[in-house]
């Protein structure tokens, strides 16, 4: 799992590459927590490089999103690939997370 971050209009965009599962999820959580502790609570996760999300991985990711939300922030998704989208649908994540077609639209949603 590779994670890169960049800023755009006061929003932090995280680009993730690889699989989100029990083994990689702690790294993502740690990364998100690091952002939140620096006051970066408006997050966009670019999922275009995410090819697999496991059940335990999603659970851990949701934990990080909940912490962000408790600080008044949010994590919004973009670039979700079809196979991953199926799992996000089945797991109810599309019901509780905002998703956008482009990173720009996701960033703009915060203003």
């Amino acid at each position: 799992m590779e994670i890169h971050d960049r800023q755009a209009d006061g929003v932090t965009i995280l680009s993730l590459r690889g699989s989100i599962d029990a083994m990689t999820a702690p790294k993502i959580t740690e990364f998100i927590q690091g952002q939140v502790s620096r006051g970066n609570i408006k997050l966009v996760a670019d999922f275009s490089g995410v090819d697999y999300t496991s059940s335990a991985g999603l659970r851990v990711l949701l934990g990080a999103i909940k912490e962000t939300r408790a600080q008044g922030g949010d994590l919004r998704l973009t670039g979700v690939q079809p196979d991953v989208l199926k799992v996000l649908n089945l797991s109810g994540f599309t019901n509780i997370l905002k998703m956008f077609d482009t990173a720009d639209a996701a960033v703009a949603s915060y203003s």
Partner: protein, 283 residues
């Protein structure tokens, strides 16, 4: 856990439950008395009517009065000639998905009179109304355009009212996908979610095929309510406060004469959760 923001965002979610949804007026009464401001309202099916009245800032009296005017037995009294012909002679009068047994012109007119071209942008607090896409089965969240159209879509009771065509989608009753759409409030950034929901009553005796069908519909709807609630409860970062009014008498679809009783039970159920809501708000 309350958020670290100074002021948590409060959402009101009102689930499906036909006339029982008027209990939301009782809930609103209690919140007003305690000066608890709501930041967004979400409604499904019958709940969409009350969610929209609350969002428009109507007084308790006006909301009650408008329910009595809008929801009378006449709205389902006139059978749809086309619907009946479609049902009896499907090969002559082409049966299609626009089917509904009841002529919906009266309910449409009543909704129009009630909302008078009000649009979502006119509401004092953000409003979200849920319906279900008839082709894909997915929940559809409406937050733009005329409120009467969204409410009409959300109350498209299967078999009774024809589905509502809106923005190229064919929409039916919101309860088919989620009878208590808490997910919308989570997605829209609410912290404290006050969720008023209603279980469908079970048949005491199954004595006909129709009653059997009702029993199965209640069962699936209640199971959907419970499992969605269970999911949202784990998925949310803050508190969800369920308010489930209990009714000693069975409230039927057009029991508007029981409206004062329904509102009272809503008030009563809200009072029970009030101490906890106040403690969350530091009041």
């Amino acid at each position: 856990m309350v958020t670290k923001r100074d002021k948590p965002r409060i959402a009101l979610v009102i689930g499906s439950g036909s006339v029982k949804c008027a209990a939301a007026i009782g809930l609103k009464k209690v919140l007003e008395r305690e000066h608890i401001d709501v930041d967004m309202v979400v409604g499904c099916s019958g709940g969409a009517i009350y969610a929209s009245l609350i969002a428009l800032g109507w007084s308790v009296e006006r909301a009650t009065e408008s329910t009595l005017r809008m929801w009378t037995r006449e709205v389902t009294a006139k059978r749809s000639t086309r619907g009946i012909l479609q049902l009896t002679l499907p090969w002559v009068f082409k049966f299609d998905e626009s089917f509904g047994l009841i002529d919906d012109r009266l309910i449409n007119r009543r909704l129009h009179d009630g909302y008078g071209n009000a649009i979502f942008a006119d509401t004092l607090i953000p409003l979200f109304v849920t319906a279900t896409d008839f082709y894909s089965g997915e929940q559809v969240v409406l937050s733009e355009g005329r409120i009467e159209d969204a409410v009409r879509a959300s109350i498209s009771i299967p078999y009774i009212f024809p589905p509502q065509k809106l923005n190229g989608r064919f929409l039916i009753d919101g309860y088919q996908s989620d009878p208590l759409p808490i997910g919308v409030a989570i997605k829209e950034g609410a912290d404290i979610i006050i969720a008023m929901g209603f279980e469908s009553p079970y048949q005491e005796h199954v004595t006909s095929l129709m009653r059997y069908n009702f029993q199965i519909a209640s069962m699936t709807s209640n199971n959907l309510l419970k499992t969605n609630y269970a999911f949202h409860n784990l998925a949310h970062h803050s508190e969800i406060i369920p308010i489930i009014p209990e009714f000693k008498h069975r409230i039927k679809l057009f029991d508007t004469d029981k409206l004062p009783y329904v509102i009272e039970e809503g008030e009563h159920a809200a009072e029970q959760q009030l101490p906890f809501i106040k403690s969350l708000l530091g009041k």
